[in-house]
Subunit: 502 residues, 3 copies
């Protein structure tokens, strides 16, 4: 009885939740399946249904969307399957798409639904974006971390628990939940079906899959249908908004900390200031995105992703979800800055020393795995086209000379730290310090990591985006030099104060 | 003469300052007393008068406000005193309320006014909020700091001045102004009347009370009428806006630093991103606050304070100013995470070792003073109701498993640091280092404090709000482990390099 | 041929780029020279042309601007040269102004244009602002850094590269590009003409000057016409907006890092919160700026720069671009807080020890070069007038007592650190440590720098703007004391562990 009252009140309320076009009274067609979903979920999860109602998915059908001129299209398929084209894209269209490939599919009130919507599902209408994204380092962010023994070693030193007994530190390996809560939040988890559970709901008892690695929206998520990535990392559910992905706050979710302070630097750059102070009237929804008309300053997406035109409609930059397309150098994430890797799967890289690293420990690039100078030039030219929409060539050249000089000097500062570390390893072995058990657990090793992961990265980003203090006192050059002094002090203290530990 | 010119020009100008309803030409009734205040103060302090004119206080009378349906009411009293109900709430209504209880009352142009408006004054119309707030830890923030000898010891180590002579560091106790400028800015000062002063004003010589501990708007302020707290900590004078209190910037005033980085983490969380990128059209003024209709993502207040309904008007969460109502665990502020204390006055807590701490130094909870698992479950369920307005139960469960795992692992990391500290105390005593004079003054003790106060807190908040790098490299797990390594290095250096100091 | 097609398409498109008044259909007159510029540049650089079209420069002629009542005027000249007064201020008006004085002038399609527009060019219409700005410390920021040997020494320790060989650290002096990318980004570069280059353009081959020190918009830039400063540091090209300069994000470009965390502190202050939470409807464009009507809380510019009136139009604060006008104390930038220097050129200062510092190494002010207490009082009164627009005198007095107490206590904390450093120099010389080669290169010297440059500054700013944790745990007092403990530990380790290095 109680269940029926719940159900009836839900039905009654659901009527208000049918999306309407703001510009007319015509109700847009919703598929029967989606109407069925909305019957309950509009009441159960009003937040996400309201988001969806504001989305483009809810306010245009694919058939109409395909009629737009090419540059204005957000669908990259030439055709959309007939059964999808005449109704708006609602719950069922995505959560019941390709369900045979989804290990997380389950019977749900007579429907076959799945929990995790994946890039393969989105590719039904957006195949080019998926295809490009597959070539983006980000889509491989899970494997590039957990399948690279060096990086996994670093992750273990972050996430493991240290124990102390009898003046000795030991390490306990990280548990699975910690990794999910830590590195994999951004890098992406592996989502697997662990079993089933039944839960009491307003509709009575229902069965649901239990997922491990869930929730997660990391850029390199391994999905239950075998695909990689999560479009909702940037286009958050359930508005899937281009506006959100174009705003810098979205990038800040993963790109603000000391290891990758891109957003923090953008915020204090001239570009970021223009966005903060004058961006309130900008049009973040226009496709294509016209410099001058829609925006008068760049966000992250302007330079790295979006389809940019001038006011005359001429293309300045093609849309790309393979973000390396406009990036000649890799500024961050590894010990030295280097030409971008060729393959998004970086686990295939081996340097001359046999380590899965894109440079030697002393900085020389592992060239066979990295793009060559011709490809670098091509990417630099692609990036500069956007710069040139507001700046003269002389300005842009000056800026790039400075950036490339900073790549060189920060690599030098890292090399100095590496040399101290190598000396510690060499001299220390005899004395029981700085051993090579893990290369990340001793204090001096951690300082070495901070040299490249924090200070060199911060300085490079500050140089790339003109972010003032992030290249000076805010984790910038001040720390690059202070850290070296502290590394050598530590080594001297250790060498002289622990003579007994032979 | 000059005085009269000043007075006349003020009168003339004051006419413009009578608030008007934006939707009609009807002037709202203002009490005679408030009109008298405005005569001068609208000219003297145009900023705050303009704020007030925008406030709900200035645009509705209590009598009208009481006619609203229950869920829409912002007044929690069933009745408001007759003499207050027919005019808007202006200067006099608050600054002359309960003046007999106010030690800061003074004669002011024939009126008895007081400077510090307190929760007891606000309770005339908002008694339930005051009553709840009294049970909120925040209202006891002053005493919980200065009457807890352990915490006062920490505050003294923060605010005192260090002196150096003959290779020895000594400490000078903090002066009163420094404490006010430091911890008590957020925790709240004790505001006392020290005397009177007369000041030359545009109206001639006038007498005013001199207050110590003033200005202050800390959450646990001790007021001259004996009450605790300051409503303006979150509802800033003189708009007293619900919009402001619901926006995350308000919480950031006290909850952004490394000891309690809640806002910093929110900002880079998915929730914070949705607010920053898409929140511009949200309605922060609606009461009740409808998820879906008014907002499509949470701010701090959504989860912790506000009356939340779904689009059908059904209550999802009751309004509460006793914010612990939805919080099963205490994440921050003490050495280990633990079940929330029962009483907002935490000075009554004694652990088994006799210390005023909610856990032992080794982490075991001082259970008699803390809520039990049944109450924890109740609060968790209350909090999850808001989560479930946008997320499925499976998602929410996954998130909470992760959070509770993080509470456990960060407690373990703190325990390791504590063990090193205990060893330092034990071994060190013989050598004149790390003595128990203050438990917060030696370098190793400060590192121990940072282990829980900065790194464990940051990691826990990151887990609770899914704030990525704050659980990894931005004061997160990286530092938890690095700090342990540095503590043991410090101890080894000390033990071996200072053998002479027996 | 290709060139002609490019040219024609540009001409065609350029027609859309003539600015129009939003309130009428009357086209505003544009000079012939500017029309010629727009023909190509509106197409080549749509971003900046669009910015300009939104600017006041493009939407009013000087002749009309001069008709405004005095308080509303943004032009500070009584008269503007006839040839400028009847057309809007466009490309040619600035980039061809005073070209005979510009070493960066070059022949450009038959025009004599220059790249770097300078305060001397802007002074054609805004002479008072330029004149005030010349007395502002900021206009001397380049020389005050690079011509002060102490400061240059610090800069070299930041920007130089450290090398390591045979257990020894050595230093390589910073290259020119690094300095430009680092300190000089904010302090301003020296822009010089190095030569000429010819570049292939849409219009065929053209010749351009090559500039060193370019790009740069630092506040103390040395320009090719010999002038100092860059108005675009705050009024970014090409909107030159008063709105932008009044928003706090602009100041954050240079005032957010740990050495000068003004913006970071403002953001978490009550004032910053009011701006973030309730500032969306404020009018940032009004001249004069009326407290109450236009804004109900301050930004940086409100207190430090802008012409502020009350709602009756009475002046509360005069506009000043000599920002010291309202600042009695210098909080940051040097070892101790002290009365503001008299001259904006601080290279003329010599303390009793002969160093170019405004205090002795032990804190006593170099009084002959600093303003006296009478001037301090005058500036304090000027600043407090803005405070008093929203606060009572009692509130304001309480706030200032606290600030001045903090100046005293942070100076004491710096003195303690200095005493440890002096001891290290004295004792260390015998042992080969902490030598006076550079006073910034040893670890203990760097800690000493952080004592004043990071922690004392942060604490002072927090006190001045009531920024909570920035005076406590966010680089505040906690670190002032922790740092002292670490300095003495370092010294003890060094003295005892390196006995051999005589």
């Amino acid at each position: 009885m109680k269940k029926w009252i719940g159900f009836l009140s839900i039905i009654t309320l659901a009527i208000c939740f049918i999306p309407q076009r703001s510009d007319s009274q015509t109700r847009l067609p919703i598929s029967e399946n989606t109407e069925a979903c909305l019957t309950c979920h509009s009441q159960l999860h009003p937040g996400i249904v309201a988001e969806w109602k504001k989305s483009r998915h809810a306010t245009i059908t694919p058939a109409e969307a395909l009629k737009k001129p090419t540059l204005e299209r957000r669908i990259s398929n030439e055709k959309v399957p007939d059964e999808l084209s005449k109704t708006v894209i609602g719950c069922a269209e995505c959560h019941m798409m390709n369900s045979e490939k989804h290990k997380d599919s389950f019977d749900h009130n007579g429907f076959k639904a799945h929990i995790v919507v994946t890039p393969s599902d989105c590719a039904t209408c957006h195949p080019i974006e998926r295809q490009q994204y597959e070539k983006n380092l980000m889509s491989h962010a899970h494997g590039n971390l957990v399948k690279n023994p060096v990086y996994l070693g670093l992750a273990d030193e972050v996430n493991g628990i240290k124990l102390f007994e009898k003046m000795k530190i030991s390490s306990k390996s990280p548990d699975a939940e910690t990794s999910l809560d830590s590195c994999l939040y951004c890098h992406g988890s592996e989502v697997k079906v662990k079993g089933k559970t039944s839960r009491e709901t307003l509709m009575g008892k229902m069965e649901f899959p239990i997922l491990s690695g869930w929730p997660n929206q990391g850029v390199g998520r391994i999905n239950p249908d075998g695909s990689k990535g999560s479009c909702t990392a940037c286009h958050a559910r359930h508005q899937f908004s281009i506006e959100m992905a174009r705003k810098p706050y979205t990038c800040s979710e993963c790109h603000k900390g000391p290891d990758v302070p891109a957003y923090a630097i953008y915020e204090v750059s001239k570009h970021g200031n223009i966005h903060s102070a004058l961006g309130k009237g900008w049009n973040f929804n226009a496709v294509p995105w016209a410099i001058g008309k829609d925006i008068t300053g760049p966000t992250c997406a302007t330079c790295h992703v979006s389809l940019i035109v001038n006011e005359g409609g001429e293309v300045i930059a093609e849309r790309t979800h393979q973000m390396g397309d406009r990036i000649p150098w890799r500024l961050m994430g590894l010990i030295y800055s280097h030409p971008h890797p060729k393959s998004p799967d970086t686990t295939i890289i081996k340097n001359k020393a046999g380590l899965p690293l894109p440079t030697e420990l002393t900085g020389e690039p592992a060239s066979p795995y990295l793009i060559d100078s011709k490809e670098q030039k091509k990417r630099k030219t692609a990036m500069q086209k956007t710069c040139l929409a507001c700046h003269s060539q002389g300005w842009v050249d000056g800026q790039w000379v400075r950036l490339e000089n900073t790549l060189k000097t920060t690599n030098e500062a890292t090399l100095t730290a590496t040399k101290i570390l190598l000396t510690a390893w060499e001299k220390g072995t005899a004395k029981g310090l700085a051993q090579k058990d893990s290369i990340f657990n001793e204090a001096i090793e951690k300082k070495w990591v901070e040299q490249w992961l924090f200070y060199a990265n911060s300085t490079r980003y500050a140089s790339a985006m003109v972010g003032a203090d992030y290249g000076v006192f805010a984790n910038g050059r001040w720390y690059l030099n202070k850290n070296i002094q502290e590394m050598i002090d530590w080594l001297e203290f250790k060498l002289q104060s622990i003579p007994s530990k032979k």
